[in-house]
């Protein structure tokens, strides 16, 4: 592997509190040196007027393989990740069959290696077959490479089981990623319960369905000393509970998706199933609470919950269409346009939530660029305006709630392990 010099970029590495224009030399897949002049022997990338950050990490994606290759494959999903600026993703185990065995973990890792796009880390099931009845073989799954455990989409209602899971994961130092939802409160629900659900006559999903489960999980994490990560936070109540828990030292972290910090339930006015997500798009006060939680650090991570669904599944009656929206290729543009440009987050704190914070939660040696680190690097063009167009997605599915949006900023060049894996065209 050769030498690569990234020249004159504004390097922002929140893990080292670094923010200055400089050169970075990459050699043999690692960061070799800062501030070196070109020797003439290396490939050069002009990063002037660009922002150079540790490769972005999305700790919540659905790659759908095995089982739902009509929606996405590991190859197409990781290609979409690269186009969105991500050098690492963690994929959820709600596949068919679910990722609850060593063989399943190995299958995903092998497919990802064959695709050879970005790094793929595997989240495995907490319970066997995601049934919420008995624990999956968490120790063996860890040995196979699982980085975290979740029954995402099938919240575990059995409080004793989830308590045991927190306790058991302690010895492996693995977090439980919780999709917080009390199922009895969400039966038949398709939209946030509020004024819009009242007007449209659609069955609502109350914010309390999330609040109650987050409160339970926090109590159990606190009681056991286990590590809880709350996925896709969407309510004011969750934010309050997490903030209070953090202040008293509970080991809890949290993420929010770009659609939850950008869109409201008003979007469902046209009954477009691309806006049907779980948790649902909430009302303005919940969205504002999520943004405030990003600002004060209550929410640690921005993750996409990239949830591809084939067009024929989404083009159905609203109650039959599946929940979910793709997000890998729009996340960076939304972070810049919705959070950085309006002044909610600095570049450094936004990048922190997409690099070192998810890396720390998953215990990855990623998301940081000191000398010797893996050369996973994202070069961002922060000025370019572009339009979200279904025809340009690398993802196999196009169920984005942001079609037609004009966004500022996108990935320009993406480097994984010292190799240029993506360059923006035009």
């Amino acid at each position: 592997m050769g030498r690569l010099l990234i020249e004159n970029g504004r390097v922002i590495d929140p893990s080292q509190k670094l923010d200055r224009v400089m050169n970075i030399l990459v050699e043999d897949g690692r960061i070799a040196a800062y501030d070196v002049a070109p020797s003439g022997a290396e490939e050069r990338i002009d990063a002037s007027r660009k922002i150079v950050v540790p490769g972005l990490i999305d700790m919540h994606v659905h790659l759908r393989e095995p089982g739902h290759e009509e929606d996405e494959t590991i190859a197409t999903g990781t290609a979409a990740a690269l186009a969105g600026g991500f050098t690492s993703v963690a994929c959820c185990p709600n596949t068919d069959p679910p990722i609850d065995t060593q063989a399943a973990v190995e299958f995903v890792r092998q497919k990802a290696a064959q695709a050879d796009h970005c790094n793929v880390f595997v989240i495995a099931c907490v319970s066997k077959n995601r049934e919420g009845k008995e624990l999956a073989e968490i120790g063996l799954l860890c040995e196979a490479g699982a980085v975290a455990f979740s029954d995402d989409g099938a919240p575990i209602s059995d409080a004793e089981l989830i308590r045991r899971a927190f306790e058991y994961c302690l010895m492996f130092d693995k977090p439980i990623l919780s999709h917080a939802e009390i199922r009895e409160l969400t039966t038949g629900g398709v939209i946030h319960e509020g004024l819009i659900s009242l007007i449209l006559g659609l069955q609502g999903i109350p914010a309390a369905a999330e609040d109650v489960m987050v409160a339970r999980d926090i109590a159990l994490a606190e009681a056991t000393g286990g590590r809880l990560h709350v996925m896709h936070v969407s309510t004011w109540g969750s934010v309050q509970a997490i903030r209070r828990a953090k202040s008293r030292g509970v080991r809890v972290t949290a993420e929010v998706t770009p659609h939850h910090f950008t869109l409201t339930d008003e979007c469902l006015r046209g009954f477009d199933s691309n806006f049907k997500t779980n948790p649902p798009l909430r009302s303005r006060e919940h969205v504002q609470a999520c943004i405030e939680a990003l600002v004060d650090g209550t929410i640690d991570v921005i993750a996409t919950d990239h949830a591809p669904h084939a067009k024929e599944k989404k083009m159905q009656e609203l109650d039959r269409a599946p929940f979910g929206a793709i997000g890998l290729e729009t996340a960076l543009g939304l972070v810049i346009t919705q959070l950085i440009e309006p002044g909610y987050l600095s570049w450094s704190s936004a990048i922190e939530k997409m690099t070192i914070n998810p890396a720390r939660i998953l215990r990855l040696n990623k998301g940081t660029l000191p000398i010797g680190a893996d050369a996973d690097i994202t070069i961002i063009d922060p000025e370019v305006w572009w339009t979200v167009d279904a025809a340009n997605f690398r993802s196999k599915s196009t169920n984005s709630p942001f079609l037609g949006w004009k966004l500022k900023g996108c990935a320009d060049t993406v480097i994984v392990g010292g190799r240029v894996k993506y360059r923006r065209q035009g």
């Binding site: 509020g194 449209l200 006559g201 659609l202 046209g270 159905q316 609203l318 039959r320």
Partner: protein
Amino acid sequence: MVDPTTAFSEVPSSWNRRHLLGLEDLTSEELTTLLDVAERFRQFMREGHRRLPLLSGKTCVNLFFENSTRTRTSFGVAARRLGADMIDFSAATSSLSKGETVIDTAKNLEAMGIEAVIVRHQTPGTPHLLAQNLNCCVINAGDGPHEHPTQGLLDILTIRQRFGRIEGLTVALVGDISHSRTARSNIWGLKKLGAHVIVCGPSTLVSPRWAELAVEYSYDLDSILPRVDVLNLLRIQFERQLTRPFPSVREYAHLYGMNRERLSRTKPSILVLAPGPINRGVEVATDVADGPHSAILDQVTNGVAVRMAVLWLLIAGGLNRSKAS
């Protein structure tokens, strides 16, 4: 006398819609146009006429995914009176049971040369989904608890016939507001035409959020009785309720059932409506349903006139637009 050659010679220029998906989308002018045209059809029928072939050679399809007696038949009668053919499509015997999607089913019907699809579906927004995917007219005949615009129009027409106006009236919708598309269509139509609307029923079925839409809400029927001009008694939609919102039908009838004693505490001019099917002895006692204040059967007759108006405005209006362009 209504002279059909002049009264229905052309669609009013104020009408520009291809679909009728809900009353929330309509302006008060459009509502008034619909009501005026419906009134003319009603008058025409009152004069003993049966048929007015304004839509001869046109074909409509009743695409019903939920049970219906009144609405389905009413659209059928309206279409035939206008000289159009009506095809009845039943979800139970269709390709939907073979896994065909609702959009594909509708597109196939459209390809056979259909001018209008009248759709009833249990899911809110399904008529909107069809409207986005079809070129023909789409008429919402009830989408889950969302809207039932022709029911709203016929209720409002019945009120207007009795009082000569809508503005300034106080109309109470009583019952299962949460699950009622009739309630929602009435609310939008009545408010746009200047009525004061009260929604009344048990607190599990009446959201305080209605106040945010300038709709008064109440859990106490007895307290609102003396000041309402119209009572519209809605059916309890047991089939849509996922959990039981009140302990027993007996308790509901005790708290919200309209009986003669309650009727005696209303204004003498009270008008009682019920969209049907009615549950005698639950939301309304038999002597009230069949009494002099009830306009339940008037509603049904008006339903045909309203649906004639809707079919004519949408289909003939569309023909005018295509001629113009």
